[in-house]
């Protein structure tokens, strides 16, 4: 069965700027917003856009990510021959292959894409928080008869030099690309979202490989090569909430924004659901001593303390007398009694013992790692 569009989610990065949060798990598997993981947004966008063939390219600590994604059934991707497929490094008669860059990761998985024989390949990042209809971008791509369409969004001019910036003509055709320019000529930043005509991209990847030319990264190699050859590259402007959660501060502030009742993401909108792999767990239990205000709580939580302007993820226990403020607590964390947590991210399965304090500031958020322990009489502290 022929597939029109295959999506490739590049989820291989370590996300080293997330520090101890990504020591044991890949960045796209980092929890977000109570009962999501970052990759849920890209996967749900695919499902909602009618794309059910999704390759998830991964190579860094993939265990949690793989178990989370499975065959994609949690996002409704496992239908009509579609589904999510985890793509990891492998060896062949030509030797062992780790992925050296975004484009190289796609090159290594040509066989996977060719099986589906698609017209278009959508390249996505696994680490952005946003809702986007890729079908509309595809319609745009088709209407322009583009060879490549790049998702862009306007950023404040003074921030543009932090991004890959697209310079377009009046028809939205991209005429120049500047990677983190000192003097940006445009404020249209690349979102790392590309729609390629697959046969053409395949040709570029294979030709350059056979000629030993470097074609490892979309931003550094593929787009410049496309520009040199005057391929029809168009910019597709996205307007809406979009956030790269690649640092501790951005992950924290994205969660704080997520708390806002009128947040632009509109997470409760059932027309564009964000799906996840929900755990089997109990209801949220608030004891007589619980206090709560402007917060999100998730199934499986047991709350005996006070929660103020925070997100508490699945299966977290918060003991009596503890106060959690302006913080994001990841799943399965155990917070003892009389603990004080403020402006912090508490990692998955972390254990904060009675009386401990985890306090950060807006400019330096406190972070407790995956299964880390704080306070108490544990030998490991």
């Amino acid at each position: 069965m022929k597939t029109e569009t295959v999506a490739m989610i590049l989820a291989g990065g370590q996300g080293s700027r997330l520090g101890k949060l990504t020591k044991q798990i890949a960045k796209p598997a980092v929890p977000f917003g109570g009962n999501y993981r970052i990759i849920d947004f890209a996967l749900s966008n695919c499902a909602n856009s009618g794309i059910s063939d999704v390759g998830v390219v991964t190579q860094y600590q993939p265990l949690v990510l793989n178990r989370h994604v499975g065959n994609g059934s949690s996002w409704g991707l496992n239908r009509h021959n579609g589904g999510a497929t985890i793509l990891q490094p492998y060896s062949s008669v030509e030797g062992e292959k780790f992925f050296k860059g975004t484009a190289h990761a796609v090159f290594q998985n040509i066989a996977f894409i060719e099986e589906k024989n698609p017209d278009y390949v959508v390249i996505l990042s696994g680490d952005h928080i946003y809702k986007m209809d890729y079908e509309k971008m595809l319609d745009y791509h088709k209407a322009r008869a583009a060879s490549l369409t790049v998702g862009v969004m306007p950023v404040p001019w003074d921030e543009a030099s932090r991004f890959g910036v697209m310079n377009t003509d009046r028809t939205d055709r991209i005429i120049e690309f500047q990677e983190k320019p000192d003097k940006p000529k445009s404020n249209l930043a690349s979102m790392g979202i590309y729609i390629f005509n697959w046969p053409r991209l395949k040709q570029y990847l294979e030709d350059n490989q056979s000629k030993n030319r470097q074609m490892e990264d979309f931003g550094h190699h593929v787009i410049p090569a496309y520009l040199r050859n005057s391929e029809a590259i168009y910019a597709y402007s996205f307007e809406g909430y979009w956030k790269d959660v690649g640092t501790i501060e951005s992950l924290w502030s994205a969660n704080m924004e997520f708390l806002e009742p009128n947040h632009e993401l509109n997470i409760r909108n059932t027309d564009w659901r964000i799906y996840s792999n929900n755990p089997n767990t109990t209801p949220q239990f608030f004891t007589k001593t619980a206090k709560i205000k402007d917060s999100m709580i998730t199934d499986g939580c047991y709350i005996a303390g006070e929660i103020d302007h925070s997100i508490i993820s699945n299966n977290v226990k918060v003991g009596k007398g503890s106060v959690i403020k302006d913080s994001f607590v990841m799943p399965n964390a155990v917070i003892g009694e009389n603990v004080r947590i403020d402006k912090a991210i508490i990692g998955e399965g972390a254990h904060i013992y009675d009386g401990a304090e985890v306090v950060g500031t807006e400019s330096e958020i406190a972070v407790i790692g995956y299964q880390e322990e704080v306070g108490g009489y544990s030998d490991e502290v």
């Binding site: 109570g34 009962n35 409760r268 089997n280 608030f286 205000k293 402007d294 709580i297 199934d299």
Partner: protein, 391 residues
């Protein structure tokens, strides 16, 4: 596949006193404790004992049940290796055959075919109306240790904890260590409400061969295939019945009051932990959901919530199912609020059960009592004056 078991769920259960909650659903699909339905408890017992298949005998419309169970995958019942959920509707056959279902042509056949085809050494029989979380694995180990033909699960309860006008069955358990069951008694209301009985929980393990033997007798005498009858049959033929004492949380769900109390019991941590004890988790069909948001002025005290709610008012001693919206200035106390309720501002609800998808208009007040909570049927509207308009 440590235990090779076939499982039969008798879901033709007494539902009259649970109306209107049972108007369009069997007892087995009654919503419970924010996230569950009663069928989840026997299903989870089966899951935790690694059962792979179940035969369900239901009455009436199975729609809500089918919708919940689907392929049974949430409880590991969809394996290609001998797995499956096989549903048999009794009322349907009755209407087709135009005769009582017990004498209908398929009732015994359905039991026979399912059990004889299953790769099983034992047959487990359960229902859904006696709410409990029995570790079936322990019962099976016990059954094998005892080398009896039948093991029945019971709990010691005071007669006063049960309905006065219902007749229960209790087991006459041999006092010494053997825990053999010597008889089964029908227990109506008793002069001494403090008297303790070994309540037959209508959950049993029976050796496959004996079960198949019984089917022939049952067909001949057009007897129900029930735990009560199987115990009597086993004893009549001098086979051994052992009793397994369950000591965890139990509630017989047979009327609105017991249903209400069971939910309220969950607000007590001991009961909650007994029923949802983590090493024997209760599984339900997972639905996609997001966190519940509690607003700036929300107050929640001794209450439970499912995901996907938006709470701006105050809540005390209550249970909220998914997707409930509670506006600012409203107060809910001692109540059960099922999925999709929309409660406007300045509402006051106390001792109330809202079935699914009820709309409560601004300013409405409803107050029942713990003995007789007000039940608002599915899809109803409660207007500002507190009048209930059925949907």
């Amino acid at each position: 596949m440590k235990y090779k078991i076939a499982s039969i769920l008798n879901l033709v259960e007494y539902e009259d006193k649970l109306k209107p909650l049972t108007n369009r659903r069997p007892v087995a699909s009654l919503p419970f404790a924010c996230r569950y339905r009663l069928i989840d408890f026997p299903f989870s017992s089966l899951y935790n004992a690694q059962a792979v298949s179940a035969a369900l005998f239901i009455s009436g419309s199975g729609h809500s049940l089918y919708d919940h169970i689907r392929s049974g995958s949430s409880w590991g019942l969809d394996s290609v290796a001998g797995g499956g959920v096989f549903t048999h509707s009794q009322v349907l056959l009755k209407s087709e055959a135009n005769q009582d279902y017990k004498t209908g042509p398929y009732y015994y056949d359905d039991h026979y075919k399912y059990v004889s085809k299953a790769k099983a050494d034992y047959v487990v029989i359960m229902g859904s109306s006696i709410l409990s979380n029995v570790q079936l694995e322990s019962v099976l180990n016990y059954h094998m240790d005892k080398e009896c033909d039948v093991t029945v699960v019971y709990k010691k309860v005071k007669r006063s904890e049960l309905r006065d006008d219902t007749i229960y069955t209790s087991l006459r358990v041999n006092g010494n260590e053997e825990e053999l069951v010597e008889g089964i008694d029908w227990v109506a209301s008793q002069p001494d409400p403090e008297s303790v009985l070994a309540l037959n929980m209508r959950m049993m393990v029976i050796n496959k061969k004996l079960f198949l033997d019984y089917l022939f007798t049952a067909r001949e005498k057009t007897q129900d295939i029930s735990v009560d009858n199987l115990i009597q049959y086993t004893l009549d033929f001098d086979n051994q019945v052992s009793g397994f004492e369950y000591t965890g949380y139990l509630k017989v769900i047979e009327d609105i009051k017991s249903y209400y109390e069971a939910n309220m019991d969950m607000l007590n941590e001991d009961n909650f932990n007994s029923l949802f004890y983590k090493s024997d988790p209760v599984r339900t069909r997972s639905k996609n959901s997001g966190p519940t948001y509690y607003g700036e002025d929300a107050v929640v005290e001794n209450s439970q919530f499912a995901n996907d709610c938006e709470i701006f008012g105050s809540v005390k001693n209550s249970l909220f199912f998914r997707k409930v919206q509670l506006a600012k200035g409203s107060h809910v106390e001692d109540s059960i609020i099922m999925q999709d309720a929309y409660i406007e501002e300045d509402v006051y609800l106390k001792h109330v059960i809202l079935d699914k998808h009820v709309y409560v208009q601004r300013g409405a007040r409803l107050e029942g009592t713990a003995e007789e909570p007000i039940v608002v049927a599915k899809d109803s509207v409660v207007d500002a004056e507190g009048n209930i308009v059925e949907g």
